[in-house]
């Protein structure tokens, strides 16, 4: 019998096939941070047939919206989602890269209006290129790659 890296949850959201080492960043994107009350189980660098190694995150007692979950595609485009009820999967899907994201990424251009005192929700347009995901700042037009570096810390 296959040994489980993390125990089953009764009800909630399981995020599987996260690129190894990115689980903490996934939590950040979902705004599950220090002080949050969700019960979270996490496994990092577990063996995976498809990916070599992967991370898994399980959030108990919470069904996270599809829109919020799709933001994970910015840093883990192969992630899969299982929504669990009574220990059973009742819905399963892959994350889809959103066309735009708001309030998730920060612009590295220090002369961008989003880095001023103005009341702005940071917005990026996202596209999949040959060499990975690219996001373009809606305001100054700066393009960013390796998006892990730009996830907003809240």
């Amino acid at each position: 019998m296959k040994e489980l890296a993390v125990s089953k949850i009764k009800e909630g959201t399981v995020i599987d096939h996260i690129n190894a080492g990115k689980a903490l960043l996934v939590l950040k994107i979902l705004r599950i941070i220090s002080g949050s009350r969700e019960r979270v189980l996490m496994a990092m660098n577990v063996p995976s047939r498809k990916m070599g190694t992967k991370d898994i995150v399980k959030v108990e007692g919470k069904f996270i919206s599809e829109e919020e979950l799709n933001r994970i595609a910015l840093i883990a485009p192969r992630a899969t989602i299982n929504l669990i009820k009574d220990y059973e999967i009742y819905k399963k899907f892959k994350v889809v890269l959103p066309e735009t994201v708001e309030g998730v990424l920060t612009c590295p251009n220090r002369y961008c209006i989003t880095n001023s005192q103005e009341p702005i929700l940071r917005k990026f347009h996202v596209t999949m290129m040959d060499d990975g995901v690219v996001a373009r700042c809606h305001y100054c037009g700066r393009k960013i790659k390796e998006l892990d570096k730009y996830v907003i810390s809240t």
Partner: protein
């Protein structure tokens, strides 16, 4: 049906939008020259909101508005900075939008105009946002090329600071819509950034001026700024080798035109001013009918 409500970036315009504005500008040229009085913007008020000084652009908008019968109020850089103490740009445009029918904005931060447009009840025209966009300059550049040369089968060389010049960056993007052959002439340290070319499709080549001078239709010169160089000697050496003189033009096509966004320092020798090729002062004038076309487009 309006082609646009705000004018923020040349990237927002299609080839058809650009040609539409150039055609409209053509209609306004007589009035821009002071022959006859325009009345289409009578009763309308333009607010220049400048967080950075720029006499030339501000005056050009003012002339365009007044020659079409409208009036202008100005918030200068000094006033803007004092008003802005504690007040957000979002609030400033909301307030000014209550006084005026259009806001012409210059701001030191990139993306400021797009942000302002999201908060403004009246149209916003970007008159330069930091190193970002300056779409009215690009449109007047295209207008100049069409008037004094041709946008069809165009061969153009862009020379000088191609790394930091927003004018050049916007112009390249617009020229690709017209399938122009674009030659980049610059010192290696001021070459066009590689990531700029990602996603830009077009016939773009690097070259030396003397290799292409006989073939090109337009030579667009930009200023090489002293502050981009670590020392004065290095600057002088580089700037000297990217200077246009009457001698440089000896082998040029008779119909070659030379453009420059101005102000120039010494990258175009005054001896060139007297040649048939010099079009940079005419280019400045064309800013007026082009801005007239833009103003009437967003307000009527």
């Amino acid at each position: 049906m309006a082609h646009f409500r705000h004018l923020i970036s040349i990237d927002d315009l299609s080839r058809a939008d650009i040609l539409y504005i150039l055609d409209r500008a053509e209609e306004y040229e007589e009035i821009a020259m002071g022959r006859g009085m325009g009345r289409v913007l009578e009763g309308k008020l333009l607010a220049n909101v400048f967080f950075e000084p720029s006499t030339r652009t501000r005056m050009s908008f003012e002339v365009a508005m007044k020659r079409l019968g409208g009036d202008v109020i100005n918030m200068t850089a000094q006033e803007a900075s004092s008003v802005a103490k504690g007040e957000s740009l979002a609030d400033t445009v909301r307030v000014v939008g209550k006084y005026a029918d259009v806001i012409v904005l210059r701001h030191p931060l990139e993306g400021a105009a797009r942000f302002a447009a999201e908060h403004s009840e009246v149209p916003v025209i970007n008159a330069g946002d930091g190193a970002g966009q300056h779409p009215t300059q690009t449109l007047l550049d295209l207008y100049t090329i069409r008037k004094e040369s041709s946008l069809d089968e165009l061969k153009i060389a862009l020379m000088g600071d191609l790394k930091y010049s927003r004018t050049v960056h916007s112009l390249i993007k617009a020229l690709t819509l017209f399938d122009a052959e674009i030659y980049l002439v610059s010192p290696p340290s001021l070459a066009l950034p590689e990531d700029f070319l990602e996603g830009v499709r077009g016939k773009i080549y690097t070259a030396q001026l003397d290799e292409i001078i006989e073939e090109i239709d337009v030579l667009y010169v930009t200023r090489i700024q002293k502050e981009r160089f670590p020392d004065e000697e290095e600057y002088k050496k580089v700037a000297g080798s990217y200077k246009v003189t009457a001698e440089t033009l000896r082998k040029a096509n008779r119909s070659l035109i030379i453009m420059h966004p101005l102000p120039r320092v010494d990258e175009i020798d005054v001896s060139v001013d007297r040649t048939r090729h010099a079009k940079y002062f005419q280019q400045t004038f064309y800013g007026v009918p082009v801005r007239m076309a833009i103003l009437s487009e967003v307000m009527l």
